[in-house]
């Protein structure tokens, strides 16, 4: 393959009446990623293109997009793996307001994250040195902490698509991360948040988030864990 077509979603609210796609012909290089292809277009053909990027190594969460029908980090997915015929199609994360081209409004993503109190809560005076934690206890949240807050799961979740007050898989993933941490003492506080009207019971275990997550996390499992605990907690209250 010497070249391929990059079909890119375009929308500039300053001048476009409508969203549309624009197709560019890009020279192919073995190993080329979709982010590299976008940068090539930006640098050589069209400086008006807008997209987010930073680390180019799948750790910062900037470049989550919808690439040829799947949630992908543009910096990690290779062109050859995203081809449909001779074309790679790149769109912004679905169900989110488009600011320009591939850049979407992530305000809710951050706000909902903050709502679960995503920090370690432990009001006891800390020891002089580290709080000890066994490797086995540390392993309990080994997956959750890999989240890069890319927003793919949030964008993919049908419960969120109807209602962006729903905390969303990313926020619940972080709630579970602290919930299972042996150093955290705020189980009740967190359960009250996640068991609220906008919390875990809105999850219909559709597993879109698992499919979408580029870090191979399982937010649904985290949510199930919180659901179980929230049920027990609620039943306890009723006693």
């Amino acid at each position: 393959m010497k070249e391929f077509k990059l079909r890119v979603f375009r929308y500039d609210p300053e001048k476009d009446a409508q969203q549309h796609y624009e197709t560019y012909t890009v020279p192919y290089r073995e190993g080329m990623t979709v982010l590299e292809a976008l940068l090539w277009v930006f640098e050589n053909l069209d400086g008006s293109l807008a997209f987010r990027y930073s680390c180019r190594e799948a750790i910062c969460g900037s470049c989550a997009m919808y690439v040829s029908g799947s949630y992908r980090l543009a910096c990690r997915v290779q062109v050859k793996d995203a081809l449909e015929g001779d074309t790679v199609t790149v769109s912004p994360l679905p169900h989110m307001r488009v600011i320009k081209d591939l850049v979407v409004d992530q305000t809710k993503l951050w706000e909902n994250y903050a709502r679960v109190k995503p920090w370690l809560i432990n009001d006891e005076p800390p020891p002089e040195r580290e709080r000890r934690q066994s490797p086995a206890d540390r392993a309990k949240y080994n997956k959750e902490i890999d989240c890069i807050l890319c927003g793919s799961c949030f964008s993919s979740c049908p419960s969120g698509a109807n209602n962006d007050e729903y905390l969303g898989p990313h926020a619940l993933n972080w709630a579970n991360r602290f919930f299972v941490d042996t150093r955290d003492t705020a189980d009740r506080e967190r359960l009250e948040i996640v068991a609220s009207e906008y919390g875990v019971f809105r999850c219909h275990t559709i597993f879109n988030c698992v499919e979408a997550c580029p870090k191979h996390l399982n937010p649904t499992e985290a949510i199930q864990n919180l659901k179980k605990a929230a049920m027990a907690y609620k039943l306890g209250l009723r006693k």
Binding site: S54, A58, I59, W119, P126, P135, I145
Partner: protein, 573 residues
């Protein structure tokens, strides 16, 4: 848009977040962070291997203490670090690391539940605390969580463009909201720059794509000197092709470096430390192997490489300690380090120099502070030890934040600076218009690539007068051609072309400071290796370089190095 806070922190990486927390906890509730990126997307997130502190948790590290850490840091710096600063770095390490643990940082653990530590290059003991090979991610998320907890205001996707200085005091800045394109002003009793490194001035860099050094340039334009800019760290092991970092943790866990003869060639260069020599020495050793014909892909596109071999560590250890390395190799190079050696080459990695500050982060410009990779305290001198940079961000971020809290309480701004801020804003808007209306035909992206190649090849790992002169001349030529850069896209919203063109101007000025400093330093010290002056020359060059901005270009000056307890010795590993 008019932003006004008592303390304004520019940059949401580790240094910026730690400073914001310290200022807030120091009694200034009105702290804001202004950052080009949402904080957790900052470059700090990519740090992998770990953070140094003499916790003495490792069975082989029981005799470790902060003095030994300070000594290793100073020796590693080739005696260019200020020793009082290096002592602070080492002494504060344990408390600041423990503090992040109390905040929930998910460090890997020993069986006894203490924080796990691994060996790193140039260190006498296993001193590097880690969270698998995702330490930066673990730390950055933890600090961001503390910022969210405190409700500290964050302006994300806001780019600071220039400083406003009134009567010798920094009083504010001009900022652009990237999303709307609106240009506005920031007023603050004190500002801190925590804007990160300048790696993208070089080709073959491990840095994220936004590390253009704009913060350094802005301070430099405002009259603050840049210190020791010629000291650029090349990391021994960037993944061949993309230059994504293969953390030093790979060697810390026992990985080998092997040439095309199958030899562990470090035996020739650092017989005792082997693969765990300091970075400058290992990087030069690899390049020497390649230049002398013992690399792979000799003369091929993308340059030569050697092998980083982890296979003998076994799958279990690789999965436990280096999962991200395996993931990156699979995704970006199509190889699995459990079964195949990793092709690596030295890659630009870190800016030892930066905005000159004292131990409190204060610059010579009253009201302006700096911390983290954009700053030079200096603790890394001519060569930074792996694991000391994350530490630098949180030790000196914290000290700077605390100092700012005291400073703004004692010396709040008097009177209005509105008029000055409006003038500065108009200046920026004029610059933008010049870029839009420019009749020239130069493209920002083409100039950028030329600059990066020039710096890598002429102001790179091995240096000498003629190539340095050519490198400096090229930077100056590019600066002339920059006058003809045209920005074609004139929209306001998320205009990346405009931002990149603006950044390029800063990159060119910072590049000039690097190249001029390198040409003038006629000795070899740490990362600065001159073929024409292969020895360290303490007689003439045991001093810091200071680069000042003038309308004609860079002006160099020097300042003494602080020596407290360790007299300079030859550096052997």
């Amino acid at each position: 848009m008019k932003i006004k806070h008592r303390v304004a922190i520019v940059g949401g990486g580790l240094a910026g977040l730690r400073a914001a927390i310290a200022a807030y906890d120091g009694g200034v509730q009105d702290v804001a962070i202004i950052s080009q990126l949402p904080p957790v997307r900052s470059h700090s997130v990519a740090a992998a291997g770990g953070i140094n502190g003499s916790l003495a948790n490792h069975p082989d590290g029981r005799d470790d203490n902060w003095e030994k850490h300070a000594f290793d840091t100073i020796k590693g710096s080739d005696y260019l670090a200020d020793q009082d600063a290096a002592e602070v770095l080492a002494r504060e390490a344990v408390p600041v690391i423990v503090e992040t643990e109390h905040w929930g940082c998910p460090f890997s653990r020993n069986e006894d539940g203490t924080i796990a530590q691994r060996p790193f290059g140039g260190a006498g003991f296993p001193r590097t605390c880690y969270a698998a090979d995702k330490t930066g991610h673990a730390l950055l998320h933890t600090l961001y969580q503390q910022v969210v907890k405190r409700g500290i205001k964050v302006y994300t996707e806001h780019l600071v463009l220039t400083l406003a200085v009134a009567d010798g005091r920094a009083v504010g800045a001009v900022v652009m909201d990237i999303v709307s394109g609106e240009v506005g002003t920031v007023e603050a009793d004190a500002l801190l720059f925590a804007t990160g490194g300048a790696g993208k001035i070089y080709a073959h860099s491990t840095n994220n794509l936004l590390n253009t050094g704009l913060g350094m340039a802005i301070a430099y334009w405002a009259g603050v000197p840049l210190k020791d800019m010629e000291f650029i760290q090349f990391h021994p092991t960037g993944l061949w092709g993309t230059n994504i970092l293969m953390t030093e943790g790979c060697r810390g866990e026992g990985g080998y470096l092997v040439n095309n003869q199958g030899e562990r060639f470090m035996a020739r260069y650092a017989p005792k430390a082997m693969e765990l020599g300091p970075r400058d020495i290992v990087a030069r050793s690899i390049l020497t192997e390649i230049l002398e014909g013992r690399g792979f892909n000799q003369g091929g596109p993308g340059g030569g490489y050697v092998h980083l071999d982890l296979r003998h560590l076994g799958e279990a250890k690789i999965n436990e300690r280096l999962p991200e390395v395996r993931e990156i190799c699979k995704n970006f190079a199509g190889i699995d380090p459990v079964y195949q050696p990793i092709p690596v080459q030295p890659s630009q990695h870190y800016t030892m120099g930066g905005i000159s500050t004292d131990i409190n982060g204060a610059t010579v410009l009253k009201g302006l502070y700096a911390a983290g990779e954009c700053a030079c305290v200096s603790v890394h001198g001519a060569n930074r030890l792996g694991g000391n940079s994350l530490l630098d961000t949180i030790v000196f971020g914290k000290l700077a934040g605390q100092h700012m809290a005291r400073f703004v309480a004692e010396q709040p701004l008097q009177g209005s600076v509105d008029k000055l801020l409006e003038e500065k804003k108009a200046e920026v808007e004029r610059r933008f218009r010049e870029l839009f209306d420019n009749p020239g035909t130069e493209r920002e992206s083409a100039l950028r690539v030329e600059l990066q190649q020039n710096m890598f090849h002429n102001v790179g790992i091995f240096r000498q007068a003629d190539t340095l002169e050519a490198g400096l001349a090229k930077v100056r030529e590019l600066r002339e051609r920059y006058r003809n850069v045209k920005v074609h896209h004139t929209g306001r919203i998320y205009n990346m072309e405009l931002i990149r063109a603006y950044e390029l101007r800063g990159m060119l000025d910072v590049a000039e400071a690097i190249a001029a400093g390198a040409l003038a330093r006629k000795e070899s010290r740490g990362s600065h290796a001159r073929r024409d002056y292969p020895e360290r020359d303490d007689q003439n060059f045991l001093k810091h370089t200071l680069a000042f901005h003038t309308p004609e270009g860079v002006r160099l000056d020097y300042s003494p190095v602080t020596i407290t307890r360790f007299q300079p010795q030859a550096r052997k590993y």
